[in-house]
Structures are given as structure tokens and as C-alpha cells.
Amino acid sequence: MTSVTSDVRIMRDGRKEATIDASSRDPHGRPVDQQTLNEEIRRVIAAGADRISVTGVMGQRYIASACTDRELYIRIDGTPGNGLGAFLDGPTIEVFGNAQDMTGNTMACGRIIVHGNAWDVTGLAARGGRILIRDSSGYRVGIHMKEYGGSVPSIIIGGRVGDYLGEYMAGGSILVLGNGSRRSPAGSSIGAGMHGGSIYVRGPVEEHQLGIGAALQPLDDTDRQRLEDMISDFERCFSLRVTRNWPEYLKIAPLSSRPFCGHFDPIPI
């Protein structure tokens, strides 16, 4: 049997800091299961912890899913599994390692910072908060992100992404910085079916890479402000410098917020 051990300490500033050690392995070398780890995280949150450090993470899925405390900070050392921070509504999660698929699935608010790569389907259906990936991400990043009221989601990828970036996008911003990439840092079918939001790519994007309903559009002052905000956040998070040579940055935006106008015929027959 594997288990997790944790320790909640009250710091001098009154904050409660918890450390959870998930490094134990069963005799076959298997790590602690996802439910046990998540229950422990929920338990220390209920005990009042507002800083949680989880070490020895080895592929456990759905870490911190549906957590809602805006003051909560979770540090993860190791490799969290799929669905990290799903339905997240407030906390900040910082990963020192790589994240897997579906990071920040349907997140509403909060921050997920990954010091490494995050694989496919990052930020699916996010409607708020920010995801920052230092290196690259995979296919289908930022699919169906949407914004509502003051809640505007954003995803910043330091490296490259695969195909279907921002498909079905209905709001928010995605920035792909293309660090270390000489060719286009995005794949094909960019923004297919998008009807809101903006995708920014630093580096070349050819017309044939665009999906249906998406178009290259010039940057305006609002875009530059938004980019400045996202880039400086990225620089702070990862202690990196990013050039702001605006002509390198391309904007992809929807042709219409009503892509299906005229597609249907409601005539009664």
C-alpha cells in the first residue's frame, strides 16, 4: 500500500503551509493513486492550508480539480498527470516539471504555470484565468475558450504548438511565442471555426495554416497592450526575456461572431 504523508505548518506571517510527499511507491514501484493524493490535497485545504507543496508527483491525474480558493497556491514538483487543474476556479498552480494532457480543462479562474512542456488539449473550454507554459504544447491548445463579462481566459506558450490551435474559440487570447523555433511555431487549422477571441503567434504563419472562419489581421493598440501584459507576465514567471518586435507578431481573429448565420434555413415545412 502506498500513502502520502503531509505536514501543515503555520508560518510567521500567519499563512498555513502544507507539504505533501507523494514519493512513496508500492513494492512494484507504482506511485500513490490519484484519489488518495487528491483527497489529501482536499484535506489540507480544509485544514486551512493556503500554500501547498506537493513533491514526488508521478503522473497522478486531476490534481486540484475543482479547487476554488483564490488565495491558494499549489507547488508541484514532478510530473502531474492528465487533467491538472480541471474546473479550476481560483487557485494558482505552479509545476516544476512537465504537465500532460488536458491541463486546465474547463478552468474558470486562477493560474497554471508550467516550467516545462504541457502536451495536448491545454486549456480546453477555459472561460477565465491564465495558463503559462514555458516550453511547448501539443495539439488542440485552447479549444473552445470563451469569455464572459470580466472573465477573459489567456494561454501563453513559450515554444511551439501543434495543429488546431484555438479551434472553436469563442473568446480570450492565446499567445505562441515560438522560442527556439525557426519555422512556423503553430501547426495547421489554426482557429478553425473560431467566433471570438484572438490568437497571436510570433513567427511566420502562412495562409494555408488557417482554419475555416479565421483570418490574419493587423495588430492594433489594444492588441499590443494585451501582448505587453501577457509577455511581461511570462517574463516574470520564468525569468526570461522576450523581444517585443511587433512586426514579428501576427494576429489571427475570427471573420464573424456568427459563423453559422445563413447556414441554416428555419422555414417550416
Binding site: 490519484q34 484519489q35 487528491n38 482536499r42 491525474r61 486531476y62 480539480s65 475543482a66 479547487c67 476554488t68 492528465n82 487533467g83 480541471a86 474546473f87 476556479d89 494532457d101 488536458m102 480543462n105 474547463t106 474558470a108 488539449v121 480546453l124 473550454a125 472561460r127 488542440r140 479549444i143 473552445h144 470563451k146 469569455e147 464572459y148 463579462g149 472573465s151 479551434e167 472553436y168 469563442a170 473568446g171 471555426g193 467566433h195 471570438g196 461572431s257 456568427r258 459563423p259 453559422f260 448565420c261 445563413g262 447556414h263 441554416f264 434555413d265 428555419p266 422555414i267 417550416p268 415545412i269
Partner: protein, 505 residues
């Protein structure tokens, strides 16, 4: 108007309201008609074209002076190129659009339920009088261990997942806010609370005013993830992942921008006036293994407190798909047949895709039984459950729960005019216009649904009693109490029921 523009104007008069001598010219009908099919001219009420036969004027007329007549097709009769076929061609030649419709298909498919008859007890297995003897109709939704285990004291050991107990084997299906008004949704939730059954939220999120019905809400997580927040997952009795809908298998959702009012925008958490698009697939589910992950993350996010189910449309390979869904960890599975309703669907999909629910239930029940999975899950089935007879037959074919939508909407005013997608429902159900939604009183609507379900449950007890069965669980999958009298014995074979005239042996 050019000749080309005039083409198609013939459709405006599919139905025509006739005003009799009894008309007192109060003008009530003109106010009630949200399709502008009636106008007052020189003091008289006259038809203005565009009647959809929603019957609102007929039922509201204080002097019963209105009759809606079917306008006979003007075109020459033709058995292949029917009026409907030609009208579709002419409409699409003008618009170039994908034809939309709503409610369940109106093509005259045979309803297999109507070809099935029930058994009753005679002599050797005495019947039971349900008015004097208790008949159990409590139905549980959720995962079972599949085995009964007792402790040393003979007490039942756990092993089941979280279960929801309903007073009858009926649940209200998913009707989203957006497709229907908040008043209509509240009527459904209120009825569910009074009946102690579950009601589906649909994919449009849950309005905060509806949180008080949380103990009876089955929250849907669809591909658009509209309004899905930790709060939404907490205010619920069950969570259901929507993969498909009987009326439009394989199709996503599309709520046109006109319907995305402030209320819809805030509940779905999308900008006002933009199209609310539900992608055709979930983009995090491309396989059974991916589905397993969404089920698992929802269980984790609800802290294993509520059952998590999956709703699929009845399609050709439904048995194998259902098997995968159960293996992926679903606590309950809902199969929606191809005659099921919709607030808006491309006509071609609504009318032609999927398979009937009767066959799908039997196929899923058999497949799950063969694989030793059936006793682990609750199987819900919907898609034209029109009355208690359909419910009883669905149960005997293998479903635990019958899911009902259209009938509940009819109970509160809907007359199945198939115009939901136009957003001007005169009954205040499938509309967001405040002057129309205010026509529906949720309490009154709920009362009528409660009456309807109560009556069906009483009829269920009558039938169970007549069969000599004292618990609805003994009816589930009891195909021996069904016989087929339809035209196609192959269907009976597929459904695993005998032909009429074949006995028990």
C-alpha cells in the same frame, strides 16, 4: 416581387385558422399569436398566413370560435415527390441552407412500441390488486457492485457507488435553458422535486435561482461546457456527460445569437448575441479511454458524492458503445432513441440518423448482460416515451428508467408544432422573449407534470399488478412478459421477445 422571389410563398399556409360566427372580436387571439398568423382588420379577425397549428389561439379563445384546419396541399398529388419533398426542394433552392426543425421526427416511422403487447396473469400466477397491496416503484440511479455481500450480522455491505433514489422509474430528460425559458425549466425542476425524480439540466448551465432544486437536478456536461463550474458540479444530484442526443446523433449544438439574451449569456457564461456552439465531439474525448478520464475527473471534482453518467444516442453499434461506456466507469447510462425531441436540429439528421429506442434498449441490455456488466449500471432510455405503456415496454425490454421530455412539455402547453427553433413559442416554453415566457406559470406547469407522472406511475402499478409482479425491478428486462405482433418477426428476434401465440415454454 419577381417570379423567383415568389417561389416558396405557398408555404405560408400549411394551416389556416378559421374564425366562426361565435367570434366576439375581443382580439385575444391576435395578442396570443406569436407567429403573427392572425390580424384584426376593420374590426374582424382574419388569417394572415404563417399559422403553425400551435393551438394557442384555439385554446385561449373565450368563445371557442377558432378552428385550425390543415390547408390541403396545392400541388398535384404524387406518391414519391410528396408535397413535403417538393417544398423542401423549393425552399433549399431559394435559401441554400440546411433545413432546420425541432421536436422529434414527424416522418411516419412505425413505432415498435405499438407492435408489442403486454402479458397479464391468469389462474396459475395470480394477479395483484395494486389498490390493496403495496407495489414497489422506487428506482435507484447509480452504480452497483453487481454482487450482494452481507456482514456476519446479515446486514448488507456497501460496495455500490453513490445512488439516487427516485420514487418512480421515470426521469425528466435534458432540456437546456436557452432551448427553453427559465419558467419552463423551473416547472420541470419543481415537478421533479415534488415527484422525487431527477430532471436534466441540459447543457446550458444552471441559473442561480434553480440551485434550490439541486437535490433533483441531473447536471449535464456537454461539449460546449457551458456554465460548467465547480459550483455547478456541487449543486447537483447527478452529473451526466452528453455524448449524443437521439434527435441529432453525432451533431453538436447551435443556439443562434438571437436567443443568447442576457439571462442565457450569464448562465452559459458566454458573450451576449454570439452563437453558442457546442462542438460536435468533446475535444477531450476521442476514445473510450478519454471518456474514462472525463468520467474520472468529474467523480474527483464531485468528491465521489454523486453518480456520473453518460448519455449516448441510439446508433447502429450502440451495444458495443454502451459496453465501453460502462467499462469507462459510468454509473448510469442513458440511451436516447432517434425519435427523441430537440429544440433545433438539422432536419436531415433528425429524420434519418440513429435507430429506434426499442431496439437500442434490447441491444444494450443484451450486450451488457452478455459481458456481465448489466447489473452494475442503471440503464435509462428515452426518445418518444409517450405514455405509461411505452414506459412499461421500455422497462420490460431492459431499461431501469424511462426518460421523458416531450410529454412533459406537452403537459405544460406544448402542442408539438415543431417550431421551437424559431424562438417565438406561443406557450412561453421554447422562447426567451419576456412577453412570451411570462405566459408560463412554473407552478401550474409543474402541477400538470406531477399529475401526468403520478398517473403514469399508477398505471404502471396497475399493469404490474395485472402481471402479478409486486416490484418494478422484477419488470426490468423481463422480456417474457412481452409479445410481438408487428409485421417483422426479425425485429422480435433482435429484441429478444417472442411472437404472439408463443407460450412460456
Amino acid at each position: 416581387m419577381s417570379a423567383a422571389e415568389r417561389q416558396g410563398s405557398v408555404f405560408r399556409d400549411r394551416f389556416r385558422p378559421f374564425i366562426s360566427e361565435d367570434c366576439v372580436r375581443c382580439g385575444r387571439c391576435v395578442k396570443e399569436c406569436s407567429f403573427d398568423a392572425l390580424v384584426k382588420q376593420e374590426g374582424r379577425i382574419v388569417a394572415n398566413g404563417g399559422c403553425v397549428a400551435c393551438m394557442r389561439c384555439v385554446e385561449m379563445c373565450p368563445s371557442s370560435a377558432i378552428e385550425v384546419r390543415h390547408a390541403p396541399p396545392q400541388m398535384a398529388p404524387h406518391p414519391t415527390f410528396t408535397g413535403r419533398v417538393r417544398e423542401s426542394i423549393i425552399a433549399q433552392a431559394g435559401s441554400g441552407g440546411v433545413l432546420l426543425s425541432s421536436c422529434g421526427t414527424d416522418l411516419p416511422y412505425d413505432v415498435i412500441f405499438d407492435d408489442i403487447v403486454l402479458d397479464a396473469a391468469q389462474v396459475t400466477n395470480p394477479s395483484i390488486d395494486p389498490l390493496r397491496e403495496p407495489i414497489e416503484t422506487i428506482t435507484f440511479v447509480g452504480r452497483r457492485s453487481g454482487r450482494v455481500r452481507l456482514d456476519d450480522g446479515g446486514r448488507l455491505l456497501g460496495g455500490s457507488g453513490p445512488l439516487v433514489a427516485m420514487d418512480m422509474p421515470l426521469m425528466l430528460g435534458h432540456v437546456s435553458l436557452g432551448a427553453v425559458s427559465l419558467n419552463a425549466q423551473e416547472a420541470l425542476f419543481m415537478a421533479a422535486e415534488k415527484l422525487n425524480v431527477l430532471a436534466g439540466s441540459g447543457e446550458g448551465g444552471l441559473h442561480p435561482d434553480m440551485y434550490r432544486y439541486a437535490d433533483h437536478v441531473n447536471s449535464e456536461v456537454a461539449s460546449g461546457r457551458f456554465g460548467v463550474t465547480p459550483e455547478y458540479l456541487r449543486r447537483t444530484a447527478a452529473v451526466e456527460i452528453k455524448i449524443g442526443q437521439g434527435a441529432k446523433p453525432g451533431h453538436g449544438g447551435h443556439l443562434p445569437g438571437e436567443k443568447v439574451t442576457e439571462l442565457i449569456s450569464s448562465t452559459r457564461m458566454i458573450p451576449m448575441g454570439t452563437d453558442a456552439l457546442s462542438p460536435y465531439p468533446h475535444h477531450d474525448i476521442y476514445s473510450i479511454e478519454d471518456l474514462q478520464q472525463l468520467i474520472a475527473v468529474l467523480k474527483e471534482s464531485t468528491e465521489y458524492q454523486v453518480p456520473v453518467g453518460v448519455k449516448i444516442a441510439a446508433v447502429h453499434n450502440v451495444g458495443a458503445i454502451a459496453s465501453g461506456v460502462v467499462r469507462a466507469g459510468a454509473d448510469f447510462i442513458t440511451v436516447d432513441g432517434f425519435r427523441g425531441g430537440t429544440g433545433s436540429s438539422p432536419r436531415v439528421i433528425r429524420d434519418h440518423a440513429g435507430i429506434p429506442i426499442e431496439v437500442a434498449i434490447a441491444a444494450v441490455d443484451r450486450r451488457l448482460s452478455q459481458e456481465g456488466l448489466r447489473n452494475r449500471v442503471t440503464l435509462c432510455a428515452g426518445g418518444t416515451i409517450r405514455g405509461s405503456a411505452d414506459m412499461i415496454k421500455a422497462l420490460a425490454l431492459g431499461a431501469d428508467v424511462a426518460m421523458v421530455c416531450t410529454a412533459a412539455l406537452v403537459a405544460m402547453g406544448c402542442r408539438v408544432c415543431q417550431s421551437c427553433h424559431r424562438g417565438v413559442c406561443a406557450w412561453g416554453i421554447a422562447t426567451q422573449r419576456p412577453e412570451l415566457t411570462s405566459r408560463l406559470d412554473p407552478e401550474q406547469g409543474a402541477r400538470r407534470i406531477v399529475n401526468l407522472f403520478h398517473a403514469w406511475n399508477e398505471e404502471l402499478k396497475e399493469v404490474l399488478g395485472a402481471m402479478g409482479i409486486d416490484s418494478v425491478e422484477s419488470l426490468v428486462g423481463n422480456r417474457d412478459r412481452l409479445r410481438y405482433l408487428g409485421p417483422n418477426p426479425k425485429l422480435a428476434e433482435i429484441m429478444g421477445i417472442k411472437h404472439i401465440g408463443e407460450g412460456w415454454g
